[in-house]
């Protein structure tokens, strides 16, 4: 491809709705797990009664498993039900964003992902043969996690399954398919009917979390409408195996010579696998286009050779849509089951993992009796806002890549033409705005009473920073945050000894900011005090420590409306 280049990565954190799911290279399942009979089935046979669990998660994908691990690390037992017994099929998410990796790092599962993944941060957009726009997602160092890694979703799932195996509080049941749900409402437990190779059994759940993907059977069983925009264009997504030394960058072409009039994308994955994404237009026939005799020449034109193997091929069209509410009494939707985006921007799996982390600590506090439904409601509010933001970005990207009318096409091409000559038009070239953590405008935050500069934002995850312990050993700010609330205080003479309901960390005493990056990122003057939620979002900051204000901020962040006074 060098002469012509080949096209980038469809980030794909998608709950793509496929026109077809099988591809030319139909890959065998990579990891097979066995069905095992659970004690609940014995108990049901013995007593005729359904066993009741506090939390049942449906779907052992990245979102469901993240949620389960987070809850288990907070001491909550979780049952996960999955209708399959294997992982590894499909062309699915490949791009995992820094925030997702930070969440997984907190859960003890990021290290193998980063080690196996391809780290990248540069993206290039080409018009025909010319580079028109280049972006660098992490222009500054001093973060434990990279800006992005590419990793086949099945590896991410495998590492999560391995992490779950270390956590006895999680009961992961393969080949357990939910076929019916009864949700009586009014806070009463949900009853599930579960089909297994040994027949069906019922289960009761105080909380049922639907992490069963874009085609969510639970959403259908509940009769919830999945509303939004559907795009007509079809895209061929292929994972090809080849030895190539193209850089680990996201390359995206508009109207490339090897695929005239359409777009193309190329992105590197581990194991010499490359994600290729070719726009085919609205009239492409899924069955015909997936035949190897049609796929191989297309990719050959792109790469300039046919020295590759097809790992997976499928044809997709995209949708951007969501359900109105993510919480329906005791049933909570999380990830693609709640909202679906096109893959341009890697906002599917990444936003789902962020849903899971938002829900985990709130549900934990609720189950422990430290919070009530008001806190849980903020899951719906915060993650609905995030879903709308992600859908907005994804819709704009998809509209840019795939114009819907002649005039939209004219406007889009005008942007591309001007991009070669003008700065503003380069910024309009949109091949996907890549996933960033959402900043919540939320009642859980205490409004700033002083002005702070720096990149840390109220309602956003706190930026990481390199620190040192007093013994000189290196650490990261994120590694020093507690699973619960954390209060960060910058030493200023008399420091507080402790804070009720939060772990206290003092910068300048037990932790040292030698590089100054913490100070710059937080605008951390002596005495400054930062209150951080269990999901590492900043909820309050003050120029000076005031025990009453900090206590009130923590109460407010737990959804205590009376704290807002």
């Amino acid at each position: 491809m060098a002469a012509t280049g080949s096209g980038g990565p469809a980030a794909a954190g998608i709950g793509v709705s496929g026109d077809a799911t099988m591809g030319a290279g139909a890959r065998k399942a990579l990891y097979q797990f066995g069905y095992a009979r659970s004690r609940d089935q014995d108990a049901f046979e013995a007593t005729g009664e359904a066993v009741r669990h506090p939390v049942v998660v449906v779907g052992a994908g990245p979102v469901g498993m993240t949620l389960a691990v987070d809850l288990a690390l907070r001491g909550q037992p979780v049952v996960i039900l999955d209708d399959a017994d294997r992982i590894g099929e499909g062309s699915r998410a490949i791009c995992f964003a820094q925030r997702t990796l930070e969440i997984w790092d907190r859960l003890g599962v990021a290290a193998p992902m980063v080690e196996k993944g391809v780290t990248w941060q540069v993206g290039k957009n080409f018009l025909r043969d010319d580079l028109v726009y280049k972006f660098d997602l992490l222009p500054e160092d001093g973060h434990k996690m990279p800006a992005f890694i590419n990793l086949q979703q099945y590896y991410a799932e495998l590492f999560l399954v391995e992490r779950i195996a270390e956590l006895p509080l999680i009961d992961l049941r393969w080949n357990n398919k939910v076929t019916a749900i009864e949700s009586p409402g009014d806070g009463k437990a949900v009853t599930l009917t579960i089909e297994t190779p040994e027949g069906t059994y019922p289960l009761k759940a105080d909380w049922l979390i639907a992490c069963d993907g874009a085609r969510s059977p639970l959403r259908d069983m509940m009769g919830l409408e999945f509303r939004g925009e559907v795009f007509d264009d079809r895209f061929l997504i292929a994972d090809v195996k080849m030895a190539a030394d193209y850089p680990a960058e996201r390359w995206f072409w508009f109207d490339p010579p090897f695929h005239a009039g359409q777009s193309a994308l190329l992105h590197k994955q581990p194991d010499d696998v490359w994600r290729i994404d070719l726009q085919l237009g609205p009239d492409a026939d899924p069955e015909v286009e997936q035949r190897p005799e049609n796929v191989i020449p297309r990719i050959k034109r792109m790469l300039g050779h046919d020295n590759f193997e097809l790992e997976w091929v499928s044809l997709y069209s995209f949708q951007c849509r969501r359900i109105d509410r993510f919480i329906h009494d005791r049933v909570i939707f999380c990830g693609d089951s709640a909202h679906q985006v096109s893959p341009f921007g890697a906002r599917g799996a990444n936003s789902g993992v962020q849903d899971a982390e938002n829900l985990a600590w709130k549900l934990d506090l609720l189950l422990k009796g430290e919070a009530d439904d008001a806190l849980l409601e903020t899951y719906d509010a915060e993650r609905s806002f995030a879903a709308d933001e992600n859908i907005g970005h994804s819709t704009r990207s998809t509209d840019f890549i795939s114009p819907k009318s002649e005039m939209e096409h004219t406007l889009r091409n005008a942007v591309l033409d001007l991009a070669a000559k003008t700065e503003f038009a380069r910024s309009m070239v949109n091949s996907g705005r890549l996933s960033k953590a959402t900043t919540y405008d939320t009642p859980l935050s205490t409004p700033d009473s002083a002005t702070f500069s720096g990149v840390a934002r109220l309602g956003a995850p706190v930026p990481d920073a390199p620190l040192k312990r007093v013994d000189g050993s290196p650490t990261w700010l994120h590694d020093e945050l507690d699973q619960g609330f954390t209060v960060l205080h910058v030493a200023n003479g008399a420091a507080p000894n402790a804070v009720e309901g939060a772990a206290l960390r003092i910068i300048g005493a037990e932790l040292l900011d030698e590089a100054g990056q913490f100070r710059r990122r937080f605008d951390a003057t002596p005495g400054a005090t930062f209150v951080i939620r269990p999901d590492q979002h900043l909820v309050a900051r003050f120029r000076h420590f005031d025990a009453a204000k900090v206590t009130e901020a923590i109460a407010r962040a737990k959804g205590r409306a009376d704290a807002a006074a």
Binding site: E406, M407, T410, L411, N413, A414, V415, D417, L418, T422, F424, A425, M428
Partner: protein, 74 residues
């Protein structure tokens, strides 16, 4: 003619701003003369984008779109 400073920054100016409106109109006519429908559409799109960035104000753009979309006579 009012001075620009008399307007709110985010208000679309519809009062005359051009010292020679006939010349301005004819600049646009000249730009399109001899072009095909498709070339004219491309030119218009590029002009709209360039001027949109020059204006630099979404509120003004919204008002311009609204006024431009209003049917003749309404």
């Amino acid at each position: 003619m009012r001075l620009r400073e008399e307007y709110d920054m985010s208000e679309l100016i519809t009062a005359l701003q051009l010292s020679d409106p006939d010349a301005a109109y004819h600049r646009l006519v000249d730009a399109h003369r001899g072009l095909s429908e498709e070339q004219s559409a491309d030119l218009n799109a590029r002009l709209v984008l360039l001027l949109t960035n020059h204006v630099g104000d979404l509120a003004v753009l919204d008002q311009a779109i609204e006024l431009a979309k209003a049917e003749r006579g309404s």
